[in-house]
């Protein structure tokens, strides 16, 4: 058992655990924190794959900015404990089995694929890290148009939010 292999399983387990907690927890803040746990574990998995920049950005943007805003809003609204209903009949008898089938199918497909076999053999960790320089070169040369288009889309979304939130004068 190599060290990256152990780290992979610990973080993968933490990610799954966080995802389950996110749904099960009744206090909204606990759910938000569980989501932070998922994102941090994913960041470690990115690091294992040699994607340093993506890992850092994952933490800065998702865990550090977006989730902080979530927590902030939950605190501001002082949201109470969630109310729960019993499972509906459709969810119990159709939804749950179908979900299980989906999970098994994904696992099966992934296990029999090329990537899945590499990971299962413990060779998942990348040999070479992708440097920030390479990544930015790809982003700003090869994929310049999609990159700029995405940023303009996000800008439009921000402007829309500002206009919606503005008071009528």
């Amino acid at each position: 058992m190599s060290l990256p292999f152990i780290v992979f399983f610990v973080c993968a387990l933490l990610a799954v655990l966080g995802a389950v907690l996110l749904i099960v927890a009744r206090e909204p803040i606990h759910s938000a924190l569980a989501l932070v746990l998922v994102m941090m574990s994913l960041a470690v998995l990115y690091l294992l794959l040699g994607a340093e920049f993506i890992a850092a950005v994952q933490i800065i943007v998702y865990a550090g900015a977006i989730m902080v805003l979530f927590v902030f809003v939950i605190m501001l609204l002082n949201a109470g404990v969630e109310e729960r209903t019993d499972w509906s009949k459709i969810a119990k008898f159709v939804g749950a089995p179908l979900g299980l089938v989906l999970l098994v199918e994904i696992a099966n497909r992934f296990g029999s694929s090329e990537i899945g076999r590499t990971v299962a053999n413990g060779n998942g960790a990348a040999n070479q890290a992708v440097s920030t320089r390479d990544l930015s070169a790809a982003l700003f040369h090869q994929y310049l148009f999609p990159f700029e288009a995405t940023s303009i889309l996000i800008l439009i979304a921000i402007l829309g939010a500002v206009i919606l939130a503005r008071k009528d004068e």
Partner: protein
């Protein structure tokens, strides 16, 4: 044993972490002493005075007091998060220090550089990642206490930290453009030497990036919740802000986290703008090798004079110990084998100390902002200025390329 032989990185790193933790904890304790002494001087008071000579044992007494006080947990609090918050705050603040290079990477032990715990290619990004998570400690402490004032304090501080983090990050991008790397050691190495037309000014990034530096230092003070931006704990309005309900060692952990953050931010300013562990003097001036030792010997001489003239009873013994320490370490720094070793850490600590003094100085000088002033200052002045700085810097950098085309 086989494991150790296979992974020298792990072993050396653990030793480095232990040593660094010890040094940082001591530094934190004496930073509180330093701050109280300097603020007292500014306000014409004596500051800590009774515990030990010059109040030097005050941090120890404070630490003991925190340890032995009753640890209260409000019954209405969220137990798990209430306990988690101070641990989060302190552990993140201490993790950030692991990324700081205190000396040149060439000085090595077992093939590992001894002055930095973790030399990452994305050092700066990782540091920002850690500081961006740091908000949780404060926000969760405020929320989990389940009490009015802490909640308000937590809300204020998260809003403040989110706002100022934007300017903090943007103000640094100018330096990144000049340096062309995210690795701390490379950023520092890039500042070696002197400007072409003014050969006496070192090539530090402050000079071309003075606007960026001013934005950085302002945003950094706000980010660490210090006066004049210490609204999360404005005691006149919010009792003690987010840590009102905390007592005993959990309170001490928030306290230590705040000081650790101050140290990190000062270290970052030193690295990015003031050449890190580089000396401001040219390499040909060999007398600077004797500087650390000579300075410590001078301090020792002064404390010896102080011991003999002003101290009586047990304080005299305590001051004598300080004198012996200063003289001993000073003499050690003069040993030829140690001299080049100590250069990097010496310059680094000197620069960081200047920043810490600046922090305390602002605390002694400026009044607190109002909350709306704080927000409009951050968003309407600091953010546009740091953005403009970024635009102008990148334009000036691309100008030579344009004229060639």
């Amino acid at each position: 044993m086989e494991f150790i032989a296979q992974h020298p990185v792990l072993v050396v790193s653990l030793v480095k972490i232990a040593v660094l933790l010890f040094i940082v904890m001591t530094a934190l304790a004496y930073l509180t002493w330093f701050e109280r002494k300097v603020v007292a001087r500014i306000q014409s008071r004596w500051g800590p005075y009774y515990v030990g000579a010059h109040g030097l044992l005050q941090p120890l007494a404070d630490g003991l007091k925190f340890l032995f006080k009753e640890d209260l947990t409000p019954p209405a609090s969220d137990r798990l998060i209430y306990t988690l918050a101070p641990f989060l705050a302190l552990s993140l603040a201490l993790t950030a220090i692991a990324l700081i290079p205190f000396g040149p990477p060439e000085i090595q032990l077992l093939g590992q550089s001894i002055f930095i715990v973790s030399n990452l290619d994305i050092g700066l990004l990782f540091l920002f990642a850690i500081t961006s998570i740091g908000v949780y400690g404060v926000a969760l402490a405020g929320w989990s206490s389940n009490s009015k004032y802490p909640l308000l304090g937590g809300l204020r501080s998260s809003a403040q930290m989110i706002s100022y983090e934007v300017s903090l990050t943007l103000s640094v991008v100018g330096v990144l453009l000049l340096a062309g790397t995210l690795n701390f050691n490379e950023i520092i190495a890039g500042q070696h030497g002197y400007f072409r037309y003014v050969p006496f000014i070192p090539r530090w990034h402050v000079f071309p990036q003075i606007v960026g530096f001013l934005c950085y230092i302002t945003a950094a003070i706000a980010e660490t919740n210090r006066i004049p931006f210490d609204l999360p704990e404005a005691e006149t309005e919010l009792v003690a802000g987010f840590h009102t309900e905390y007592s005993s060692f959990k309170f001490a952990m928030f306290f230590m986290a705040e000081y650790a953050n101050m140290i990190t931010v000062s270290c970052l300013a030193t690295i990015l703008f003031f050449g890190g562990w580089l000396s401001p003097f040219p390499d040909s001036w060999t007398w600077q090798l004797y500087l650390p030792g000579a300075l410590l010997l001078l301090v020792g001489a002064y404390t010896a004079y102080d011991t003999a003239l002003n101290m009586h009873g047990i304080a005299r013994i305590q001051m004598a110990v300080v004198t012996l320490l200063a003289l001993g370490i000073g003499a050690m720094c003069l040993i030829p084998a140690v001299r080049p070793l100590i250069q990097g850490p010496f310059w680094f600590t000197t620069k960081v100390l200047v920043f810490l003094f600046f922090y305390v100085w602002t605390r002694g000088t400026l009044p607190r902002f109002r909350y709306d002033q704080l927000m409009s200052f951050g968003w309407k002045l600091l953010l546009p200025v740091s953005l403009a700085n970024l635009l102008i810097t990148s334009f000036l950098m691309i100008l030579p390329l344009l004229s060639h085309a």
